[in-house]
Symmetry: C2
Subunit: 299 residues, 2 copies
């Protein structure tokens, strides 16, 4: 059982972590830290945190585990304010969507205490944000990627892994570089593509007519274009290199598709569509099998 957990950022991600730990009776006390007093107050009101603190020193006192669940661009500043108060027995983890930049920021901010920082990324979310969106179920059956550093003690990595497992999550491990390459392909690029399409349609002179006929296919395709522009600006910049590589591969793919369309090469088009359809179906079957196993094995 964790005695004390401090959470920097008590929104959807940090708040759900707190609620899940509490429900699992895996923590005695959760302290919330953040920039916005109203958000912290709300988090206390609805039982996400037991106490709130505007003093980092106080929040860090005898704390087993710190979770940083603030926008990625703030990670370095938060870690720098933590460092002077960081006790030997405390481990820190984060929930950022990119890892290479977070590791660089952590090395800069923490210096010789870098061993106490275990980079992490829970793969879970909802459409809404803030403390009121937090739910104890958010991580059940979801993946949490840990990207341990050579300096991390395995017992510390284990402490972070166990906390997430007690939230119902499944632990995966990738290096920070692997993590960023993988998420550039399956998450960051699709977000950019969805934003680009909606922006493209909205900029056309007959945009109103177009939106009038957009239906459920368009709605699903562009759902991720409803995400926070600030967050995705930060992710794009933080994962610039891997994202550029994926974007270039995709533009090359569209150029090939365009050539097939110009040539009216029905076979080549159908082959690409069929390959994509099969790959997606096989992926969906894998997900559904895993979900079924989680349901049977869990709870």
């Amino acid at each position: 059982m964790l005695k004390k957990v401090a959470i920097f950022g008590v929104g959807l991600i940090g708040g759900s972590f707190a609620l899940a730990l509490k429900r699992a009776r895996a923590v005695q006390q959760v302290v919330g830290v953040g920039r916005t007093a109203a958000t912290l107050e709300r988090a206390r009101e609805i039982g996400i945190v037991d106490a709130i603190s505007t003093s980092v020193q106080e929040a860090l006192q005898d704390t087993d585990l710190v979770l940083i669940a603030a926008p990625v661009a703030q990670t370095e500043t938060i870690l720098a304010t933590i460092k002077p108060h960081l006790q030997a027995g405390t481990v820190i983890t984060d929930a950022g969507s990119t890892k290479t930049d977070v590791v660089a920021a952590a090395r800069k901010a923490l210096g010789d205490k870098i061993g106490q920082f275990i980079p992490g990324h829970p793969i879970a979310g909802r459409e809404s944000n803030g403390p009121d969106a937090a739910i104890a179920d958010l991580y059940i059956g979801k993946k949490v990627v840990l990207a341990p550093l050579p300096e991390n003690a395995s017992a510390d990595v284990e402490r972070v892994a166990q906390a997430w497992q007690q939230c119902g999550a499944l632990i995966h491990r990738l290096s920070p570089e692997e993590h960023d390459r993988v998420f550039a392909a399956v998450s960051h690029l699709p977000h950019l593509l969805a934003y680009a399409l909606v922006d493209d349609v909205a900029n056309k002179p007959h945009a109103d007519l177009l939106f009038q006929y957009a239906a459920s296919g368009f709605r699903d395709f562009t759902r991720i274009a409803g995400s926070s522009p600030e967050m995705w600006r930060d992710i794009s910049l933080a994962n610039q290199a891997a994202l550029l590589q994926e974007l270039d591969a995709y533009i090359a793919q569209l150029t090939k598709l365009r050539a097939n369309l110009v040539a009216a090469d029905g076979n080549a088009l159908q082959q690409m569509f069929a390959h994509a359809q099969q790959a997606r179906q096989s992926w969906i079957r894998t997900i559904e099998a895993a979900e079924k196993q989680n349901r049977n094995g869990g709870d």
Copy 2:
């Protein structure tokens, strides 16, 4: 009340049209016509059609309305088999996703009887296909675009419009060219983009690792890549010109996005993302308001 309706293709689209007309008591008899005996038998078994016919002559006898709900590439062949048996009192409509090519095919097949053909496109669908996927509710509150020709008598257009309205649909009108430009942007291009992304990911050497971390954002974005490859090959070829124009605009958009990413221009990125997010939110609000109005006004 329609005395007799003949449906060529009794799958999801044709079958749902039949079920909806029957529930509204808007038709006395529905006859199914098609290439596959087993599909027709199934449609009769589950009450979609009252009779099945392998003779086009028999199916066309004293028929008020013909719906062609077969793959678009078959439209010309079907209309050519219909022509010799087409009586003066019969109107024909279709459910194809493209209209310019369908009109060209209809002119070729029907010649001086073209006035009896009213091009149409119901904007509705489900993930599954075939007669067993058909439901009487499919068209409730959904748009049906009619693209009437100069040769159509307004009473004939009205007959088609009324049939769809009795299925619960809302009638919109566009010219065949307008229709194809609009759907190239909001439907055909997104389908190609989704297929292209899944094919791109599936072709990478580490595809298995990538799919392992693909989550709900990827799932929604690529949902339309689960659609029929044959159907989307046909649509791509049928709407080649408008689709190329949209694809080129999108590649130009991605090229601009790429330049902003290379320059690490956070403001420009955020501006595009925010504009897209706002446009999407305002579109979703419009849809939700319309759905609410349909619910209050309908049923």
